[in-house]
């Protein structure tokens, strides 16, 4: 039906007032009276007119005349009653509220219901659950917290952090006006610093000291500025970069930190070791970590290992290139990185490299090619000396393990082996010296074994082949430098290998060309920013690598 309907006929001169609170009850029936209800909503209908008495000259009684207006039909045919009343009474109605009035009443009702529900919510049995801005993070709930929260006001332990939870509405209001900046200090919202607040002070009741960043921090940073609670029951979200950059992106703050750092003893900056971890010790830069920067991919300082061209100080001689070449094989295959660097349980880091697990299978320390079962013990020069001095016993024991049972045969075997040994080493002392100090793998093995030996094991040139062995130890023993193989190189950042398995080892670690122990095979910053940058599309937030809460100094610092 596309044709437009004509407007129906109606009296356009009449003007309805929808703003009035009441309308005639007959309206819905289509015949509202012309008088309409009173402002209070009572029907005022009486009759259609109020007759007037007209007296002509000389008349005593006069004549009642209908006064109904022309607009409403003009004088009625019946005329007024003899008593002067109108003969057309209007039936009374029950006035009804206008739409506008109904809407107003609904507003009042909804407001009242809201107020009531708020009162129930704020002061009812679910008070704290209703008020709470959401579940606290997993860092702040659990068995321990469940036991502790009953000691704090508020059924859910809100009082542990919120002073307002210690009281009623009055206390809430007091706390609100005690807040800095307060409700009537909007001008301070723009200029206020990230200093400690009343809520932050509650954090310190469980996390005392506020001493978990660099010692030269010039002001305590608000805990809650970084750690936003009530964001969900999972782990607390990491702090935003803006929090870190509020200091590290601010030249004034960094300069103040640099000056503060100059007044502190160097020991205050020592990275406190975590038990069981071997950290590579990085010397503190002259200006500390106070360089101003804005983002990782642009102006973040180069990793200290590369910026200061640091070298590995490990005394163990190790040639990555050789071990990854085809010269060294295992089960007919060249070695791979994963043959030695095996992930730890969590996968983030690698198991520590040990002789027994990672070296011994090839470097078995076999000093006698005729008897490869005999191996020099590893780890202690005293043990080596004791082993060498007990060689007749070792050979006798070997004979028995080989099935020689007769005493005479055993003695004959021992005598023969000892004779051959003396032919090569001349004396026991000389043998010990060769075992400890020989280091040239190109020469004949210390005792007997030849390069053409069928054994796939690496030749044992002597302890000094791998270790830094110097004379001058106790009891005439040599001094073998302690091996220090760090398992953490970037102590100020955390690197999770498990998250980087899509990248080949060689893409970051140039091990194949490294011949010296001194080479630190860690990638530089540019290698990281290939992915960790806006162009690379991988997160480059501060919290991706760093934790604010690093521990420094061997002793707790004094409160500033």
């Amino acid at each position: 039906m596309k044709d437009q309907l004509p407007s129906p006929d109606f009296d356009r001169s009449r003007y309805d007032r929808p703003n009035q609170d009441w309308e005639c009850g007959w309206t819905c029936d289509g015949c509202p009276c012309r008088i309409g209800p009173s402002p209070s909503g009572t029907c005022r209908a009486t009759a259609e007119c109020r007759p007037v008495l007209e007296k002509k000259d000389g008349e005593d009684k006069g004549r009642w005349r209908c006064t109904r207006s022309k607009e409403h039909g003009g004088p009625c045919t019946n005329g007024p009653l003899p008593s002067g009343g109108c003969a057309c009474p209007i039936p009374t109605c029950q006035p009804r509220r206008s739409l506008r009035n109904q809407r107003g009443r609904l507003c009042v009702a909804v407001t009242a219901v809201t107020l009531a529900l708020l009162l129930v919510g704020f002061f009812g049995p679910w008070q704290w659950r209703f008020i709470s801005a959401g579940p606290v993070s997993s860092n702040h709930h659990g068995v321990v917290f469940a036991q502790m929260k009953h000691s704090w006001p508020g059924s859910d332990g809100c009082g542990a952090c919120h002073t307002a939870a210690h009281g009623d509405l009055h206390e809430w209001m007091r706390a609100a006006f005690r807040a800095r900046p307060g409700p009537f200090e909007p001008h301070r919202l723009l200029t206020v610093t990230a200093g400690m607040t009343e809520l932050d002070n509650h954090c310190l009741s469980c996390h005392p000291g506020h001493r978990f960043h660099q010692p030269n921090v010039t002001r305590d940073h608000s805990c809650s500025a970084c750690h936003r609670e009530h964001q969900g029951s999972g782990r607390m979200p990491p702090p935003a970069d803006t929090q870190c950059l509020s200091c590290h992106g601010n030249g004034t703050v960094m300069e103040a930190s640099r000056k503060a750092g100059e007044k502190l003893p160097p020991a205050a900056f020592d990275y406190r070791q975590v038990a069981g971890r071997q950290h590579f010790q990085v010397p503190r830069p002259e200006r500390g970590y106070t360089r101003v920067f804005k983002s990782f991919d642009t102006d973040h300082p180069e990793f200290q290992l590369h910026a200061q061209k640091l070298t590995d100080t490990n005394s163990l001689r190790f040639n990555h290139s050789l071990h990854l070449s085809s010269l060294v094989q295992r089960n007919g295959q060249p070695l791979a990185c994963a043959d030695c660097h095996q992930p730890a349980a969590a996968g983030a880091h690698f198991q520590a490299i040990t002789f027994a697990k990672h070296c011994q299978s090839c470097h078995a320390l076999q000093f006698d090619a005729r008897n490869p079962q005999l191996r020099v013990p590893h780890g202690d020069p005293v043990g080596v000396r004791a082993f060498l001095r007990s060689l007749p016993t070792q050979y006798a024991d070997l004979a028995r393990r080989s099935g020689v049972t007769a005493q005479a045969d055993t003695e004959k075997f021992v005598a023969e082996e000892m004779r051959l040994l003396r032919e090569r080493a001349f004396s026991g002392e000389n043998l010990e010296q060769q075992i400890f100090f020989a280091s040239d793998p190109s020469k004949q093995l210390t005792v007997g074994a030849s390069p053409g030996n069928a054994s796939p094991r690496a030749r044992f040139a002597g302890c000094a082949y791998c270790h830094d062995v110097k004379p001058g130890g106790a009891d005439g023993l040599p001094h073998i430098a302690r091996v220090f193989t760090p398992d953490r190189w970037l102590i100020r950042g955390e690197f999770n290998h498990a998250k980087h398995t899509i990248v080949n080892c060689a893409q970051c670690h140039d091990a194949a060309s490294s011949r010296r122990t001194e080479d630190i095979l860690l990638p530089n910053k540019q290698s990281c920013t290939e992915c960790h940058s806006p162009a690379g599309g991988v997160s480059q937030t501060c919290a991706t690598c760093h934790s604010y809460h690093t521990v420094h100094g061997s002793q707790p610092q004094t409160k500033r």
Binding site: P32, Q102, V110, T163, W172, R228, Q231, G232, Q243
Partner: protein
């Protein structure tokens, strides 16, 4: 360029500029030393107070507060701007606390009802004009009564004139309820003509049993049915144009109360932290 387009461009540009300004300011302040959530919260609350006041400004016309038309434009575009502020204030995440969920739901209700209200206020008058049969909302019952009386008269007269009660019976069975009050509210709102077509088809089918005299009456009844349907259309749309305020305004007051409570809670329990 018509005044309407110029006005829309002006307010739209203002809204866009304010949105860009507040987003860039937020990106800058979201850093270090400002309480951006407090800032956005106060601006949002202040704007909501102004928006709520629009209903009151109209009630005090004697105060020199400017033209209501300007206030309406401000109400619409500032209302849309609160959406930007709200998203920034909640950091684009759905809240997890009960009270905050209540607050968010109330805001969404006000926002959605407001947007729907402005959409139908702008679009539906054109529908009403296109359909025709326009009549002031308050006069609809009177016109409906006139149509009902005309239909009843036609049905009654047809008995005497055509000596047949077929039309009268049909009226009693089918048309009486149709003319008695507003019908097919949802069908009219969603522009569905099925109920009208069904009734007209029934009237058409009735013609097979009628004589010539009665068919003339039926033709008049069809006209009345169309007029009544048009009247119902006017009623449905004009009523909806008024009813959306039954959600928008009461929920606004509820929202303002909760927002006040939210401010007390925020300052009381956060002690000024971010």
């Amino acid at each position: 360029m018509s005044g309407f387009v110029r006005r829309r461009l002006l307010w739209g540009s203002l809204l866009l500029a304010a949105t860009l300004a507040v987003i860039s300011a937020y990106a800058r302040w979201a850093g270090a030393t400002t309480r951006e959530a407090y800032l956005s919260g106060w601006v949002l609350f202040g704007l909501m107070v102004l928006l709520t006041g629009y209903n009151w400004f109209k009630k005090i016309p004697y105060l020199p507060l400017g033209r209501s038309e300007v206030w309406l434009q401000f109400h619409i575009y500032a209302g849309l701007f609160t959406g930007v502020l709200f998203l920034l204030h909640v950091r684009g995440r759905w809240p997890t606390g009960w009270f905050e969920i209540v607050l968010t739901v109330l805001y969404v209700l006000v926002m959605v009802s407001g947007v729907l209200g402005i959409l139908i206020s702008r679009g539906w008058p054109k529908r009403l004009t296109a359909r025709g049969g326009e009549v002031p909302f308050e006069r609809i019952p009177i016109v409906r009564r006139q149509l009902r009386e005309q239909a009843e008269a036609l049905a009654l007269n047809s008995v005497a004139e055509a000596r047949s009660a077929t039309i009268a019976e049909f009226h009693a069975r089918r048309l009486h309820a149709f003319f008695a009050g507003p019908q097919n509210f949802l069908s009219h709102v969603f522009e569905i003509r099925l109920p009208l077509n069904a009734l007209l088809n029934e009237l058409g089918d009735l013609n097979r049993f009628l004589n010539e005299q009665e068919r003339k009456v039926t033709a008049q009844l069809v006209t009345l049915v169309r007029q009544k349907d048009g009247l119902d259309y006017q009623h449905a749309l004009q009523l909806t144009l008024r009813l959306w305020l039954f959600i928008h305004i009461p929920v606004t007051y509820s929202l303002m109360l909760c927002a006040l409570a939210h401010i007390v809670l925020v300052y009381g329990f956060s002690a000024g932290v971010r």
